[in-house]
Amino acid sequence: MQVVWLRSSLALRDLQAFIQHTVVYCKMDPKLQKTKNSSSNSANSPDSTHSLFPFPDEVLERVLSFLHSHKDRSSVSLVCKDWYDAERWTRTKLFIGNCYSVSPEIVARRFPRIKSVTLKGKPRFSDFNLVPQHWGADVHSWLVVFAKVYPFLEELRLKRMTLNDESLKFLATSFPGFKALSLLSCEGFSTDGLKAIATHCKNLTELDIQENGMDDLGGGWLSCFSENCSSLEVLNFASLNSEVSFDALEKLVRRCKSLRILKVNKSITLDQLQQLLVLAPQLIELGTGSFQQELTPLQYEGLGIAFSNCKNLQTLSGFWEDTSLHLPVLYSACPSLTFLNLSYATLRSGELAKIVAHSPNIRRLWVLDTVGDKGLEAVGSSCPFLEELRVFPADPFEQDLHHGVTEAGFLAVSRGCRKLHYVLYFCRQMTNAAVATIVQNCPDFTHFRLCIMNPGERDYLTNEPMDEAFGAVVKTCTNLRRLALSGLLTDLTFEYIGKYAKNLEALSVAFAGSSDRGMQCVLQGCPKLRKLEIRDCPFGNAALLSGIEKYETMRSLWMSACNVTMSACKLLAKEMPRLNVEVMRDEGSDESQADKVYIYRTVAGSRRDAPPFVVTL
């Protein structure tokens, strides 16, 4: 038997390489697929009897404890039983991309030592009101199991889950060591639930409440933090509107010396912000409150000084309401910024130009389209290191072409920011030629999300469909992982995608395509596809069934307002028992139509909590 001793100072990268080599080797050898008694405890396990596993379980577990990525861990667990066991005993962070793909009980059985859980629930299109209310994704059943099995749970991160105040109270009182709560796009709770968290979680380090469908009943929750609480590192209540007690906030900030992320809401005025900055110059991320306030010259100066004293500031966000009056106070903080989120500030081109002129190190920039093409030109010339750009529409339902950004702005950014790899761009006009040029300038796109806001919009110069634009994107950007389509698109776009987008993992399609062939091309051509969401496209049963083998390799498929019928869905459900095929019908629609279809792989069987309008086939 070989024994290999590993130094604990082994670099992580070397470790991963070592493990990966061993994984490959072991996978190749069928002799190693022995089953073994899986109840071994790491501390007392005997040496492994596999001749090719040169180290005892405890060493293996130590080695594996360096692995954090859940994808790596999945790979490790597939090697053999020993590795599966070692992995499950050492996993402390749980990531569940679809809460219905597995059940809390299954999770509890497999992983005994979880400290951090990330759970995602509803399909992404629920963000745009395409999923009816009371669809599900309630976290409570998870919490109940966690309370039994993981009493030392420290972190919970939820996205698109439903939870009510009772659940929050349960969470706050069931886990004495609870530290971090992050809620993004969740719904069903109110500030009363936050009160419970603030009151009971004595060791809270993180409270991150973002963009939820919650009831804001008042700012009293902030005052519930005990005076002994000094452990906060992250506090984000930017999306809550109610006024909080500034006195309570000020005291909290004063005693939490490790606070590094503070995002306040719009009830906090500028001079209050200044006071907070003076107390917390160590902040790395700041979300401002309202920038609208008359300041005396002295106050203005004080604010400028406070900003300049924040030497570690990397992220700025907030800027609710009209802000242009006081933007210059930020200039001293701008040089160190890497992420500037101005997506709620209705800035004009000149105002943005001035800010970005002071922010040459920006990597990520979010703006509103009020900055116009001119503003984006300024970005192109001032921000050579820009990697991510998101341009949101200030007035998405305004059809007036005079507003917003066009292909010119995007082009300008692509010329100046060659490292751009993530873009989300809302515009009202685009051309194929512009997109082709853009991806030539920036061939490293990993995320390309273009939203031409009028559905079915053509290239406004040539009047052609936008096929060639997205064709250029997939041909040129070989690392493309996420793509969102818009404009008038025929099946040709999907042929291109199937042919070239070999690294594509997520595709979002709306009002596009001419026939089943489109969807078929994608299902057959994109080996890494994990998430496919489609709405209002002429894809029917043939398209749906062409992916019958594929859906188990994906996280989920969403199809709404397409041409799919119940019979095809039933067939799919029958052929693929490990998929949940869920159909939601719109009121009054034909019995045979499957208006909304949500298909996902699962080891947990059909949902037990499905509401009446969700039919699992």
């Binding site: 469908g213 609710w320 059809q399 007036d400 005079h402 009054g588 629609s589 034909d590 208006d595």
Partner: protein
């Protein structure tokens, strides 16, 4: 380009159900649905090359666009229209591509004549197509009004405006609501005359046009820009004179502009000021105009003749 007659709603519906064998069952349900939803028999169909979709989803406008469709016929109508817009769009793309490139987005339909000439091919706004057909028979879907309703509704965390396509553009509710509130408060401020940056939306009506538009006066710096833009927006009606005669930097319209305007075109641009009086555009400096303008009206020259000579007199005096 004339509206292709063979693409009337019923015609296309039949052909589409023939082309798509799997939807053959739909044709029979269509007549049933017809009685259920009278809206289907309306102008909706004009210019909305239908598809098998519409038949399948005759009743689906109800839930797709929110709970209160039945209560709000206007909005509901618009929603159905939009739903057809959506469904019509699906089938029609391939048709559109086979057509000459000029057709643009097929939904332009009945009001196509107007729409085609409104600026570029692709200003085929949802609101335009909304109002086009509906304006003729239903006569009360006013897109500008719908936009206003949306703005008023969105003070609370209301779901997306019912007058728009559900869930489109794909923007998170939180962001939509926040921005809507910001815009709303801005518009209110501006209309009341407080200084504000960004937005000063005023309605623009044109005599004879079935629907109004809304524009943001703050995006323009001069009469020349305004007239040029209005010209594009309503270019089927000739008011291009502003664009051709407005000189950069000038705040007043010169006398010859007005003369040409009146002689060369049948339309005159007027505005309602804070006092509720209707004034000829161009008399006062631009800033004063934007501060006092509450709405714009493109009036038939014949109605405005009483006004013009005095304005020209003023111009003569001022220049």
């Amino acid at each position: 380009m004339s509206f292709p007659e063979e693409h009337d709603y019923i015609g296309l519906t039949d052909s589409s159900s023939m082309e798509n064998p799997s939807s053959s069952s739909i044709v029979s349900t269509e007549s049933e649905k017809n009685s259920v939803l009278n809206l289907k028999e309306t102008e909706l169909r004009l210019g909305l090359p239908g598809s098998d979709f519409h038949e399948k989803k005759a009743g689906t406008g109800v839930s797709l666009f929110g709970k209160d469709l039945k209560d709000e016929v206007n909005n509901g109508f618009s929603q159905i229209l939009l739903k057809n817009f959506v469904s019509g769009a699906k089938r029609v793309f391939s048709d559109a591509i086979d057509e000459s490139g000029k057709w643009g987005f097929p939904l332009k339909g009945g009001s196509e004549v107007d729409m085609e000439n409104c600026g570029s091919e692709n200003t085929n706004t949802l609101q335009c197509s909304l109002a086009g057909p509906s304006g003729k028979e239903i006569g009360n879907s006013n897109p500008a009004k719908l936009v206003e309703d949306k703005k008023n509704e969105n003070n609370s965390t209301a779901p997306a405006s019912k007058a728009q396509l559900l869930g489109w553009p794909p923007i998170q509710s939180f962001r939509k609501n926040t921005l809507a509130t910001t815009n709303l408060s801005k518009n209110n401020d501006d209309v009341e005359g407080k200084s504000g940056l960004g937005c000063l939306y005023v309605k623009v009506s044109m005599d004879g046009a079935p629907y109004l538009r809304k524009i943001n006066l703050k995006t323009y710096c001069s009469y020349a820009e305004l007239s040029s833009f209005l010209g594009k927006m309503f270019s089927c009606f000739t008011i291009g004179q502003y664009a051709s005669h407005g000189l950069p930097g000038q705040e007043h319209l010169r006398e010859n502009c007005l003369k040409n305007l009146l002689h060369g075109s049948e339309y005159v641009l007027t505005y309602e000021d804070k006092d509720g009086d209707w004034m000829l555009v161009g008399d006062v400096p631009w800033e004063m105009f934007t501060d006092s303008c509450k709405r714009l009206r493109i009036m038939k020259g014949s109605d405005a003749t009483g006004l013009a000579p005095r304005a020209m007199q003023k111009c003569r005096n001022q220049s």
